[in-house]
C-alpha cells in the first residue's frame, strides 16, 4: 500500500516539475506565423476557456454535493426527480454557448477555404515517404526527404542518441522555400497512399489524396524556418517524412530561385555525359540511401515477407533491361513505385549500377544515363 503511495508522490512531484518549467515542454498550440494561424489560436483559446468555465461549474456542483450530501454526514435524501424548467434551461444554455462559438469559427473557416487570387502556387505531391515540390511558374521541381543524420539515428538500436541530432526527425535535405508577405497557394496530391501536409506554424493541415487535388493557402508574415510532419498514416515511415518550409524575403527568395534553375542545368548536363564506374557507384550509393534504403534497408537485405532483398535478388543480378524496367516503372500492386518520374537519367543509371555491383552483388556491368534516356 504505502509503496504505491510513494510511487504516487514520486509521480505527482514529477508532474509538478513538469508544469514548473512548462516553457520548454510545449503544452499548447503554437500561435504560428500567419494571420489565420493567429485567428485559429484565438479560437482554440476561446473554446478552451469556455470548456474550463463550464467544467468548473459542473464539477463545482458535483464536488459540493459530494462533500455535503453524503450519508456519513447524516444528510437525508430529498425526493425530487423532475423539473421541466431546469431541463429546458440546461438545454437552451448550451445551445447559446455553442452558437456563440460557431459564429467566429464559421467566419474563420470561410476565410481559410478561400484560396482565390493567390500570388503564387506550389504543387506538393506525397510519396512513400518523401515530398515532391513543384513550382509551375518558376519551372522548379525537387524532392524533399528526411535528412541523413535523423535517418541514421532513427534506425532501431542505432546507438545514436536522438538528442545529439539537430532537429531530430524534423529536418530535410531540400526544404521548400517561399517568399514572405505573399499569398502562397499549395496544391496537394499523392503518388501512392494518403498523406497529409502539416506545418503547425502555417496552421492548416490538408490531406494529399491520390487522384485528387486539394488546396490550401498561407501568407507567412515573418521570415524563418518552419517545421512539420506528415499527418496521415501512410505506412512504415509515416513518422519519417518531415516538412521544412523556409520563408525568405522576396530578394533572397528570387536568389534561391535562380540558384535552383542553375543547379537544374547542372543535373541536366550530368545526364548528357558518360560516367566512369567509380562516379556511378559513388552517386548510386547516395541515391540508394535516399530512395531505396527505406524499404530494401541500408545493407540491401530487405525485410523478409515485406520488402524483398536487393542482395542476390534475381531481378537485380539478372538481365539488365528488366532491372531498369523495375526501377523506372515500379511493380504494380506492390509498394515498389515507379522512379522514372522521381530520378533523373544519371541517378537511375547510378543507382542501378550500384545495386548490381554493390550491396554484395557483383554482376560487373554498368548503366549509362544514355541507356536510361533510351528507355524513356
Amino acid at each position: 500500500m504505502n509503496k504505491a503511495v510513494q510511487l504516487l508522490t514520486g509521480l505527482v512531484s514529477a508532474m509538478a516539475v513538469t508544469s514548473a518549467n512548462a516553457g520548454g515542454w510545449g503544452i499548447n498550440l503554437r500561435e504560428g506565423v500567419t494571420d489565420l494561424s493567429h485567428e485559429i489560436y484565438d479560437l482554440h483559446m476561446l473554446v478552451f476557456w469556455v470548456c474550463v468555465i463550464i467544467g468548473v461549474l459542473v464539477f463545482g456542483v458535483m464536488i459540493y454535493s459530494m462533500v455535503h450530501h453524503r450519508a456519513s454526514k447524516g444528510h437525508k435524501a430529498a425526493t425530487f426527480h423532475e423539473s421541466t424548467l431546469a431541463e429546458i434551461l440546461w438545454t437552451i444554455a448550451p445551445i447559446l454557448v455553442l452558437g456563440f462559438l460557431t459564429v467566429p469559427a464559421a467566419k474563420a473557416l470561410i476565410k481559410i477555404e478561400d484560396s482565390s487570387n493567390s500570388d503564387m502556387t506550389i504543387k506538393v505531391t506525397g510519396y512513400q515517404w518523401k515530398w515532391q515540390y513543384e513550382y509551375p511558374e518558376e519551372g522548379i521541381s525537387f524532392f524533399s526527404s528526411m535528412s541523413d543524420p535523423s535517418r541514421k539515428a532513427s534506425v532501431r538500436d542505432s546507438g545514436i542518441d536522438p538528442n545529439s541530432v539537430e532537429h531530430y526527425l524534423l529536418d530535410v535535405d531540400n526544404p521548400v522555400v517561399i517568399p514572405v508577405g505573399k499569398k502562397v497557394r499549395f496544391l496537394f496530391t499523392s503518388n501512392d497512399v494518403n498523406h497529409a501536409w502539416w506545418v503547425p506554424d502555417l496552421a492548416v493541415k490538408k490531406d494529399a489524396i491520390p487522384g485528387f487535388i486539394n488546396d490550401m493557402w498561407a501568407n507567412v508574415t515573418e521570415p524563418g524556418t518552419y517545421r512539420g510532419q506528415c499527418a496521415e498514416l501512410c505506412g512504415k515511415d509515416h513518422g519519417f517524412m518531415p516538412i521544412v518550409v523556409i520563408a525568405k524575403e522576396q530578394a533572397d527568395y528570387d536568389a534561391w530561385v535562380s540558384e535552383q534553375l542553375a543547379s537544374a542545368e547542372e543535373t541536366k548536363a550530368a545526364s548528357e555525359k558518360t560516367w566512369d564506374r567509380d562516379a556511378l557507384m559513388a552517386q548510386g550509393e547516395k541515391v540508394y540511401a535516399s530512395s531505396c534504403a527505406a524499404c530494401h534497408q541500408a545493407g540491401g537485405q530487405g525485410i523478409p515477407g515485406v520488402f524483398p532483398a536487393i542482395t542476390g535478388s534475381p531481378t537485380v543480378t539478372g538481365e539488365i533491361g528488366e532491372h531498369l524496367n523495375t526501377i523506372m516503372n515500379g511493380r504494380t500492386g506492390t509498394a515498389m513505385q515507379a522512379y522514372a518520374g522521381q530520378l533523373n537519367d544519371a541517378d537511375i543509371a547510378a543507382v542501378t549500377t550500384f545495386q548490381r555491383n554493390g550491396l554484395g552483388n557483383a554482376v560487373g556491368d554498368m548503366v549509362q544515363p544514355a541507356d536510361v534516356k533510351a528507355l524513356r
Binding site: 509521480l11 478552451f48 450530501h69 426527480h81 423532475e82 445551445i95 473557416l109 515477407g305
Partner: protein, 525 residues
C-alpha cells in the same frame, strides 16, 4: 403429447456440467458470463499491445520494435479493444441483466444468442493470427483507409473476414436484444418504466443493426478492390479513396456512441442507487439518448475535416457535431441533479460512476473543441485526438464497465467483492489513467502526430510520463482481475437487495439468481 409440461419440468434442472455446458448453453446468464470473461481476456491482450506501444514511445529513437510492427500494434490494439473487449463487455452485461431487469424468462432467441457469442472466439482468433502471417499484421490503422490498407500482405483477407464475423455476431446480438425488449417485458413493464440501462441498450441495438452492415459493405469493397479489380477507391477508375472514409465514418461515428450509450445506462442505474434518490429527469434521459443516437448519423465527417470537403459540408458537420453536446449535457446535468441533495455513500461502483462523469465530461470537452472545424485543422491526427478518445473510452466506457461489474457482481456470484481492494483499484486506476492520458493533450497540441513510432525530442518528457501512467494503469487492472476472481470463488454472502438504495426487478431475485430467472413473469405495478 404436451411438450410444455416436459419443458416446464426441465426448467428446474440446473445447468449441464463440464465444457459442453458452455458450448451448448442457451441460458442468458451463462452466455453473459462467457461474454464477460472473453472481454476481460481481450482487454488484457489489447492492453499488452498498448503497453508495447507505450514502451516504444517511452523515449525518442527506436528501442524495441520496428515501425511496421508499431503500426500493427496500433491497429490491432484498437481493433481488439473496440470489437473484442468493449463491445462484448456491453453485450455480456446486456445478456446478464436485460432479461432480469424486464422480468423476461430469458433472451427472446436463445439459440441465436449462443451463436452470437460463439462466433467471437473464431473471429478474434482469425484476427490475432494475422500477427504470425507473412507480411505481418494489418498496419493501416483501425480506420483501414485505402489505398494504404490495400498494401497489407497475407493478413488482408483475414482482417476483412474477421470484421465480417464480428459484424455478424453483433448484428445477431442486437436483433436478439431488440426482440427481447419488444416482446418479453413483464406485464405492466411499459417502455417508459424500463430501467435506463435497458433503454440505452435498446437504442444502441438499433445503432448496431443500422451501422454494422455498413462496415461490412465498406470492407467488402476493400476486398474487391484488392482482389477483384474493382475501382471503388481508385480515382483512375472513377472512384475516390475518400468515399471509403465517408462510408467508414458513417459506421464509425455511431460506433463510438455504441461504445458510450450503454455506459450512460449503467451510470444512470448506479448513481440513483448510491444517492438513495430516484434518477432525475428519467424521460429527458430517454429523449436525450434518442437524440444522441439520431445526431450520431449526421456528424460522421467531423473525422474528415482535412480531406478537402466543400465549405458548406464542413460548416454543416461542424454545427451538427456541436449539437451533440446538448443532449449529452442534459445527461450530465441530470446525473449531477440526481446526486444533488441525495444521501450519498461511495462504494466502489459509485466511485467508478462518479469518475466516469468527471472524466467522460473532460473527454467530451475536447470533443467539442475538435468539432470547431478551423481548429481541428490543427488538432487532427495529433495526440490531442488520442487523448480525447481515450478519455471517453477508458475512464469513460471502460470505467462504466468496471462500475457495472462491481455493482452487479454480488448479484451474479452471491458473494460480496473485497470493498477495500475495490476502492484501492478505483484510486489506482483514476490516478494512473490521468497520468497516462492527460499529458497526451499537451504533446498533441505541441504538435506530435499520432501513429508514429518515434518522435522528435521536444516531446520526450510528456511521453515518458504517459508511459509510466500506462504501466501503472495496466498493473492496477491485474488487481481488478484478482478482485473479480476472488469474489467469484467466495467471500461474504450478499443479500438479495445487495445495495440498500437499489431498485428494480434484478434485486427481487436471490443472489445468485436461479438458473432460470422468471419462468413465469412477475407483474410490474
Amino acid at each position: 403429447m404436451d411438450t410444455h409440461a416436459a419443458e416446464a419440468h426441465d426448467d428446474h434442472h440446473g445447468p449441464a456440467k463440464g465444457l459442453m455446458r458452455w458450448i451448448r448453453t442457451t441460458n442468458h446468464k451463462d452466455i453473459g458470463t462467457l461474454y464477460l470473461w472473453f472481454s476481460l481476456l481481450m482487454f488484457l491482450i489489447g492492453g499488452v499491445m498498448a503497453l508495447i506501444i507505450r514502451a516504444e514511445l517511452f523515449q525518442p529513437g527506436l528501442q524495441f520494435i520496428d515501425p511496421q510492427f508499431f503500426n500493427s500494434m496500433t491497429t490491432m490494439h484498437a481493433l481488439i479493444m473496440i470489437f473484442a473487449a468493449l463491445m462484448p463487455a456491453f453485450v455480456g452485461l446486456a445478456n446478464w441483466m436485460l432479461p432480469i431487469m424486464i422480468g423476461a424468462p430469458d433472451m427472446a432467441l436463445p439459440r441465436m444468442n449462443n451463436w452470437s457469442f460463439w462466433i467471437l472466439p473464431f473471429a478474434v482468433t482469425m484476427l490475432l493470427s494475422t500477427l504470425f502471417v507473412e507480411g505481418g499484421a494489418p498496419a493501416g490503422g483501425w480506420t483501414m483507409y485505402p489505398p494504404l490498407v490495400l498494401q497489407t500482405g497475407a493478413a488482408f483477407p483475414m482482417l476483412i473476414f474477421s470484421i465480417h464475423l464480428l459484424g455478424i455476431s453483433s448484428i445477431m446480438g442486437s436483433i436478439n436484444i431488440i426482440a427481447t425488449i419488444m416482446n418479453l417485458r413483464a406485464p405492466g413493464m411499459s417502455y417508459m418504466k424500463m430501467p435506463m440501462f435497458v433503454w440505452t441498450w435498446f437504442i444502441t441495438a438499433f445503432l448496431l443493426i443500422a451501422t454494422m452492415p455498413v462496415l461490412a459493405g465498406a470492407v467488402t469493397m476493400l476486398l474487391t478492390d484488392k482482389y477483384f479489380a474493382t475501382s471503388f477507391f481508385n480515382a483512375a477508375g472513377g472512384g475516390d479513396p475518400v468515399m471509403f472514409q465517408h462510408i467508414f465514418w458513417f459506421f464509425g461515428h455511431p460506433e463510438v456512441y455504441i461504445l458510450i450509450l450503454p455506459a450512460f445506462g449503467i451510470v444512470s442505474q448506479i448513481i440513483p442507487t448510491f444517492a438513495r434518490k430516484p434518477l432525475f429527469g428519467y424521460s429527458s434521459m430517454v429523449y436525450a439518448t434518442a437524440s444522441i443516437a439520431f445526431l450520431s448519423f449526421i456528424v460522421w465527417a467531423h473525422h474528415m475535416f482535412t480531406v478537402g470537403m466543400p465549405v458548406a459540408g464542413e460548416l454543416f458537420f461542424m454545427v451538427a457535431t456541436m449539437l451533440i453536446a446538448v443532449p449529452t449535457g442534459v445527461k450530465v446535468f441530470n446525473w449531477v441533479s440526481t446526486m444533488w441533495r441525495g444521501s450519498m455513500t461511495f462504494e466502489t461502483p459509485m466511485l467508478f460512476a462518479i469518475g466516469f462523469v468527471f472524466m467522460f465530461t473532460i473527454g467530451g470537452f475536447s470533443g467539442v473543441m475538435m468539432a470547431m472545424t478551423p481548429v481541428d485543422f490543427q488538432y487532427h491526427d495529433t495526440y490531442f485526438i488520442v487523448a480525447h478518445f481515450h478519455y471517453v473510452l477508458v475512464p469513460g466506457a471502460i470505467f462504466s464497465v468496471m462500475a457495472a461489474v462491481y455493482y452487479w457482481l454480488p448479484k451474479w456470484t452471491g458473494n460480496m467483492y473485497d470493498e477495500k481492494l475495490g476502492k484501492f483499484h478505483f484510486w489506482m486506476s483514476t490516478v494512473f489513467v490521468n497520468i497516462l492520458f492527460f499529458p497526451q493533450h499537451f504533446v498533441g497540441l505541441a504538435g506530435m502526430p499520432r501513429r508514429i513510432p518515434d518522435y522528435s525530442v521536444q516531446f520526450t518528457n510528456f511521453n515518458m510520463i504517459s508511459t509510466i501512467g500506462a504501466f501503472g494503469f495496466g498493473l492496477s487492472q491485474l488487481l481488478f482481475v484478482y478482485i473479480v476472481i476472488k469474489a467469484a470463488r467466495g467471500g461474504a454472502k450478499a443479500t438479495d437487495q445487495v445495495w440498500d438504495g437499489a431498485e428494480g426487478l434484478e434485486w427481487t431475485l436471490s443472489s445468485p439468481p436461479p438458473y432460470h430467472s422468471f419462468s413465469t413473469q412477475p407483474v410490474v405495478k
